[in-house]
């Protein structure tokens, strides 16, 4: 396709940056600034890709494609391209990684070249996952995310990092290997590994193999065992990247591969998955309410939000999908911002524990404002983009049964509880033992990190249709399929109370 080079650039630019930083003998600050420059250029290219994407052709259509033969005899090619909803996730990744790299430049990291090279490699992996249009390419980029994460948490993490990385690694690889087995079976039996041209598969086992990888990465209850330790031990911005960006790769996998390529198995397994997502939603919210330190709250709220997003995805209707994609972008930005704030508070107070914090609002207006804004958007105050996302998800789920919406509504109330508790415990009440007068307010550099995230969130709060109108159009059709160009996602009824969502095929 004409603009396939944009996709290749988005994938290969961070890789090139990583190799350059790893090899060139740059001093510490220079390595960080080069990485930051590369990420900013990546955002620019993403803007180009967004404007090059033609939304009238249908958000499910794959555009900006590039194909090269990789293994001719097994039908595997390096095939990349973007669907309409993938572009937003790529944008989230580009912006999120830029913020995380800027945080690392501000705070300073030992072995800077290795650190920034790993961050850029992670960016490549993330963008590649969203761009992959061939199952094996998807798997390659999925695994390519794991290696920098292992190094980032294992080298620069906290005291318990070795055990945390071990758990994280074992969980993730178990899921990934099941996905590899599924990919092999699917590809060899169909004769092609291409996602765009291959037909649907109705096999439940293959579907479950893919789901295994995604439920671990998201994570979905009860496969979240790696979550608390890894988020606690990782460096703050890496925890933000994990919870904000990497988990969205799993959600994208749920949407693009599991639901849209396996419509029948998705329908068969919908109820168990929605039940697990609901349990995760309530369980995560309750644990967040009980967590004694900032990162714990944000980590468990991440579990809850991923449950909510999965809720929306497995509602398998367009409202659910739209809400889920919007919520993915929202949650990515919010959790990245919250983890960075947690890191900044920990730097000032030496701890994130609530029993030793408190009263930080007094004399620190900027910190208080930013934390309150992020927190209020996070708890989905009406008018925020989070509210729009959650509303759409609950609308979508309502069509499957009003009981699920009740669960979702309860979760929103719990979200309000834990967020307000977080804000109050850090900012209000009497001054904690770890907070001293010398703990400064947010400095200009730190504000420069967080302000773009807040501004973007406010933008989406004012105009959530920027995303929801450019993901899945609300179109339902029973016999008008032939008039829609391929790549459209349509909703069809399959009997009383039954809905299938499909990608229109050539």
């Amino acid at each position: 396709m004409a603009n396939g080079w944009l996709t290749d650039t988005l994938i290969l630019l961070p890789l090139g940056g990583a190799i350059f930083i790893a090899i060139a003998p740059l001093p510490r600050l220079a390595a960080g600034l080069v990485a930051l420059a590369v990420s900013l250029v990546e955002i620019a290219f993403w803007g180009g890709a967004l404007s090059a994407f033609d939304y009238r052709a249908g958000a499910g259509s794959v555009q900006l494609q590039d194909t090269t033969t990789w293994f001719g005899d097994l039908g595997i090619s390096y095939h990349v391209g973007f669907t309409g909803f993938a572009i937003w996730l790529v944008g989230l990744s580009a912006v999120g990684m830029t913020a995380a790299i800027a945080y690392a430049v501000w705070v300073g990291r030992e072995h800077a070249r290795a650190y920034f090279a790993s961050m850029l490699l992670l960016t490549t992996g993330l963008v590649g996952v969203f761009a992959a249009q061939d199952y094996l390419v998807f798997y390659v980029f999925w695994e390519a995310m794991l290696i920098p994460l292992y190094v980032l948490v294992g080298v620069w993490g906290g005291p318990g990092r070795l055990r945390a990385t071990l758990m994280f690694f074992i969980y993730t690889m178990a899921g990934s290997l099941l996905m590899l087995a599924s990919i092999i079976v699917l590809g060899v039996s169909q004769g092609s590994f291409d996602m765009v041209t291959a037909g649907y598969s109705g096999s439940n086992w293959i579907f479950l193999g893919f789901i295994a990888a995604f439920v671990v990465k998201a994570p979905i209850f009860p496969f979240h065992g790696w979550l608390p330790d890894t988020y606690r031990e990782a460096p703050a911005e890496v925890a933000g990247v994990l919870s904000g960006l990497v988990s969205k790769a799993a959600a994208y996998g749920f949407l693009y591969i599991a639901v849209l390529h396996f419509p029948d198995p998705a329908r068969n397994f919908r109820t168990p998955i929605i039940v697990l997502a609901a349990i995760g939603l309530i369980y995560g919210s309750l644990l967040a309410f009980r967590a004694p330190y900032i990162r714990g709250v944000v980590a468990y709220s991440s579990l809850a939000q991923m449950g909510l997003i999965t809720f929306g995805l497995f509602a398998t209707n367009l409202a659910g999908f739209n809400g889920a994609v919007l919520q993915m972008v929202n949650h990515g930005l919010i959790s990245l911002g919250m983890f960075m704030l947690a890191g900044l508070v920990e730097l000032r107070a030496g701890t994130g524990r609530f029993d030793r914090l408190g009263g930080m609002a007094k004399g620190r207006p900027v910190l208080a404002t930013v934390l309150m804004t992020l927190g209020i958007i996070a708890l989905a105050v009406p008018g925020s983009s989070n509210f729009a996302g959650e509303f759409l998800i609950l609308t979508g789920v309502f069509k499957s049964g009003w009981g699920w919406s009740v669960v979702g509504a309860i979760a929103i109330v719990l979200a309000a509880m834990y967020m307000l508790r977080l804000i109050s415990a850090v900012l209000h009440q009497s001054r904690g033992s770890a907070v001293s007068d010398s703990a400064r307010d947010l400095r200009l550099g730190e504000l420069a990190l967080l302000a773009p995230i807040v501004v973007i969130l406010i933008f989406f709060s004012a105009w959530p249709a920027a995303i929801t109108d450019h993901t899945f159009q609300q179109r339902s059709s029973t016999n008008g399929l032939s008039t829609l160009s391929d790549g459209h996602v349509v909703q069809r009824s399959c009997g009383t109370g039954c809905q299938i969502v499909e990608l229109v095929r050539p």
């Binding site: 001719g72 070795l162 690694f169 178990a174 590899l180 087995a181 092999i184």
Partner: protein
């Protein structure tokens, strides 16, 4: 006249044997160097000669590949001139060249020229073995290179471990060769033929499919080959020999011996025993499961890096026997492709261990390799890439190789073996990433031996070898199509 003056000799195709002959020539020259030159000059001269010979043999093998589109038996069908043998010779010579570079600064007090002579001779035997098409040539070339390797393992007479390694390899290897020979005798007894193709014809013509002697002979031949390929349950010698032998020799053994043994196994089984396919595919599947289990579980508890890599090579014998067990054309391509990055990774990982060993002067364990990633970033990164490759993670050829192997097995219909392979991969991640962890995430504990002189020795030859192997490992991930085409042409000489 009482006797006939002319003896009928077969026509000799010298070009077909050129890789082996080049290496034998170099071996002879090195032996002369050993007696004609001063001790200090011996090492460098013989290293240059051997390195040059490996380059020459590599080129000869490449030309042979190019000029042998159809398999032809030569020298009265003792060996075959085809692309399979040429490709295997290319891999062996590549591994040999890298090993010569790694051995450039080897700490041997005596017998330096003999070391290189033996290395060249062993490689010559291997190049000959991969072209063998009858049981006698098979045994001849097997013994040829095995004896060279036995001596190579023991050559560092200053180290007790080295002598022990050589002795163990001799005894166990001799046992394995005896099994192989006895099995060959049984097969000859049953069919009356020694040529591979002839054995297949005789089996078909004589209805010998279920003949006891033939099947027993096949089983013993498999056992003998299993010894060489270090597949479980014939793997007993591997950890001790790999640990005790001089590290560059271990790297060469891990790469080249395995290549030779596996290519030969594939040729032998598909050419000589196609009627017993049912039997040997299942037998190999059992051997695969045993190797994967023993190799991975054994490696989990190792603290010595060379021993861990030895157990990992046992598990890789399992992974690489999978495509042979599948017995289809996809499997043939998978094996030949997989051997390329596998050889590169083996030589490179043992090279890095050798570098650390020369720095420290003691055997390398997980504790004393700690921090290598930060002290010597290039070697650390190379070892990291090799661990990723062994584990089968993307961005290395090891991933593609495993993927092909699993696909070949699935194509044969054995999804259970794919699951076993996936579980084994999962288990192996623990110890491969344990090494990565030691390289980067641990501080060197109790490393009271401050290297006198500060900087680690700069070894240009070793680093060049590691770089070359790294290029092959990572490059084979991107350039899959050309390599698969090479493998496809090579595997086409066999009938599946």
């Amino acid at each position: 006249m009482i006797f006939d003056a002319s003896i009928k000799t077969p026509h000799v195709d010298w070009f077909a044997m050129s890789p082996a002959l080049t290496l034998l020539g170099a071996s002879a020259v090195c032996l002369l160097i050993a007696v004609l030159f001063r001790p200090r000059a011996r090492r460098y001269l013989s290293a240059w000669v051997t390195g040059g010979a490996f380059v020459g043999a590599f080129v000869a093998a490449a030309l042979l590949y190019d000029r042998s589109p159809h398999p032809q038996g030569v020298i009265a069908n003792a060996i075959v001139r085809d692309r399979l043998g040429a490709l295997a010779a290319i891999i062996i010579c590549g591994a040999g060249l890298a090993s010569v570079l790694v051995s450039w600064r080897i700490r041997l007090r005596a017998h330096r020229a003999e070391y290189f002579a033996l290395l060249a001779a062993a490689a010559g035997g291997m190049c000959f073995l991969v072209t063998a098409t009858n049981l006698i040539t098979l045994f001849l070339s097997l013994e040829w290179f095995s004896i060279c390797l036995y001596v190579l393992c023991a050559i560092d007479v200053e180290l007790e471990g080295s002598l022990e390694a050589g002795l163990k390899y001799l005894v166990v290897g001799g046992f394995g060769s005896a099994f192989l020979l006895f099995g060959s005798a049984l097969v000859y007894g049953a069919t009356g033929k020694v040529g591979f193709a002839d054995i297949a014809h005789a089996t078909a013509a004589g209805g010998l499919r279920h003949d006891t002697f033939l099947v027993a002979g096949l089983a013993m031949i498999l056992a003998g080959l299993g010894f060489k390929a270090s597949a479980a349950p014939f793997h007993m010698w591997t950890p001790d020999v790999y640990e005790g032998a001089p590290t560059p020799v271990t790297g060469f053994m891990a790469a080249a011996t395995k290549t030779t043994a596996l290519v030969l196994t594939m040729r032998l089984l598909t050419t000589a025993f196609p009627q017993e396919k049912q039997l040997w595919t299942i037998a190999l599947a059992v051997i695969v499961c045993a190797s994967l289990a023993i190799g991975n579980l054994g490696a989990l508890v190792q603290r010595n890096v060379k021993r861990m890599l030895a157990y990992s090579s046992i598990s890789h014998a399992g992974f690489m026997l999978m495509p042979i067990a599948a017995g289809n054309a996809l499997g043939g391509r998978a094996l030949l492709y997989y051997l390329i990055p596998y050889s590169a990774m083996s030589v490179a990982s043992f090279a890095v261990v050798a570098a650390r060993e020369r720095e420290l002067g003691v055997p390398v364990t997980f504790d004393n390799i700690a921090g290598l990633g930060w002290e010597r970033p290039f070697l650390g990164a190379a070892l990291w890439a090799c661990m990723l490759g062994f584990a089968g993670l993307p961005l290395t050829g090891g991933f593609v190789g495993k993927f092909y192997a699993f696909s070949a097995v699935y194509d044969h219909g054995w999804i259970w073996l794919v699951i076993v392979g996936a579980v084994a991969t999962a288990v192996s991640l623990y110890y491969y990433f344990g090494l990565v962890r030691a390289l980067y995430m641990r501080a060197p504990a109790g490393l009271g031996l401050a290297p006198a002189g500060g900087q680690p020795p700069r070894e240009a030859a070793l680093q060049t070898a590691v770089f070359g192997c790294l290029v092959v490992t990572v490059g084979s991930f991107f350039a899959v199509e050309p390599l698969i085409r090479l493998a496809k042409h090579a595997a086409s000489s066999l009938v599946f």
